[in-house]
């Protein structure tokens, strides 16, 4: 579903961000990307939604290969995945409802289908009562929920989240994380980059630790190896 094959990413100014990284994310999986700042977590996420392309190696996402990909193919791929950020990236001059419907509007969803879909999404993230509010009238946690609703608008097979709880207090963090788990339980894979080790420890989920542009730990490998070691 998502596969990195010996991916190296070099930026012209800052140099090597990822060095020969290989891993795969399976259908419906929840996976944490952890590691210090600048380790390359965001670069991995950007490579998943093709905001960046690898310098060497190949990224495969839902059948789309990074090598020779066109802008049009990137657009079509992004309709199949959702992305959320630490800073929410909402449009300040539009209401909650408009922010979500915007995502459907710009890919040409028929008008009559938009409204019911948006109501359903806002109910799902628990914000149906705030549909006519503007982002600045909401708390951080609520704004991130709007961003998640927007990311879910196209029924993605994977949700890519770059530090989604980075700007939130503990209570809001728990709420947003629970929402992501619910979404995952409904079948959508989640790839979440985070600094919050508490969160990672509490949840028994796959962890990919990145350091200096390389995967230094993959809990999936541990699990695979563990049974062999027991006599």
């Amino acid at each position: 579903m998502i596969r990195f094959a010996s991916v190296t990413k070099e930026y012209p100014r800052t140099g090597v961000a990822l060095n020969d990284v290989s891993f795969a994310v399976n259908k419906g999986e929840f996976i944490f990307l952890t590691g210090p700042s600048g380790a390359g977590k965001s670069t991995i996420l950007k490579l998943i939604y093709f905001d960046e392309l690898p310098t060497k190696g190949d990224v495969w996402v839902s059948g789309t290969r990074s090598k020779g990909v066109t802008r049009k193919e990137i657009s079509l791929l992004r309709r199949k995945l959702g992305v959320v950020f630490q800073d929410f990236r909402l449009l300040e001059d539009r209401t909650v409802e408009q922010n979500v419907s915007f995502a459907l509007d710009v890919i040409g969803t028929p008008h009559e289908k938009i409204h019911p879909k948006v109501s359903r999404l806002l109910t799902q993230v628990g914000l149906s009562s705030k549909s006519t509010n503007y982002p600045r009238e909401l708390s951080g946690g609520e704004q991130q929920r709007v961003a998640i609703a927007r990311a879910l608008a196209n029924d993605p097979f994977v949700l890519v989240a770059d530090e989604p709880t980075g700007n939130l207090d503990e209570r809001a963090t728990r709420g947003v994380f629970q929402l992501l788990r619910d979404i995952n339980a409904a079948g959508t894979a989640v790839v979440m980059a985070t600094h919050n080790l508490e969160l990672v420890k509490r949840a028994d989920l796959r962890v990919l630790e990145i350091n200096r542009g390389a995967v230094v730990f993959d809990s999936a490998d541990e699990k695979r190896r563990a049974p062999e070691m027991t006599p």
Binding site: R71, K72, S75, R78, R79, R89, D105, V106, I107, R150
Partner: protein, 283 residues
Amino acid sequence: MKLAVREALLGFKRAPVLSVLSITTIAFSLFAFGLFSLVALNIRNTLRSVESRVEIRAFIADSTSPESIALAMGDVGAYKEVARVEYVSPEQALERARKELGEFKDVFEAGFLPASIDIRLRDGYRDPATVKQIAERVKQLAMVEDVRFGEEWVQKLYSIRNVATAAGIILGLAFAAVSIIVIGATIRMAVMARSREISIMRLVGATDGFIQRPFLIEGFVKGVLGGAMALLLTWLAATLISRYFIRTEFFDLRLAMLGLLGGAVIGVVGSAVSVGRQIRRVL
């Protein structure tokens, strides 16, 4: 499509000053172009009326019989380039000379001027080369003693017209380029102002074509509005010149429409050139 139009209109609402500025720039560019076209049009019309007077005059030997003259006139009249052939008797020639040169009217006597055939050419055959060629052919006729066709005059007319046309085209292109650059710059600012929105559009999977469409519509509308404003300004100028200086002809409907179309093309081209590059820069 509906969304694209709405976004385009929103573009005007979001940046009214910028929009008015770009429309005005297009208008003034096209206005300058329009003024020049107006001059060119009027020069051309004047030339055409002068041109239609271009004639070849073949002087006929005194001894020629009226029958051979009639025959020759029939022959010449059958040339495909010839519009009209007219016989001018010595008496008529005298009459005309006296009328045209009033102060010398006593100098002229009957029989002083030879008879001639005046040949007028059809529209499209009045260029110097054709005029000269027909004159040569007429000169071959036995009864014709001499041919006059104001060679220099014809050539001068044409060079004036050619210079006017060339200058018009060059200036027109220069002004069109200025307008395209101005529209490109305003689109650039509009894209920058909306970069956040555009990056979100890209993020959720909108295609480049979709993102560009409102900007192209915006450019089209600005171009047409600018064109209309330029037409109005040119019309005002033509009216004022007509009233205070010389009678000036204004564009006909077809040319006016062409002006609007020109504005639209400038608007769309200016937007298209800029928006693709800017969008790629945003994400």
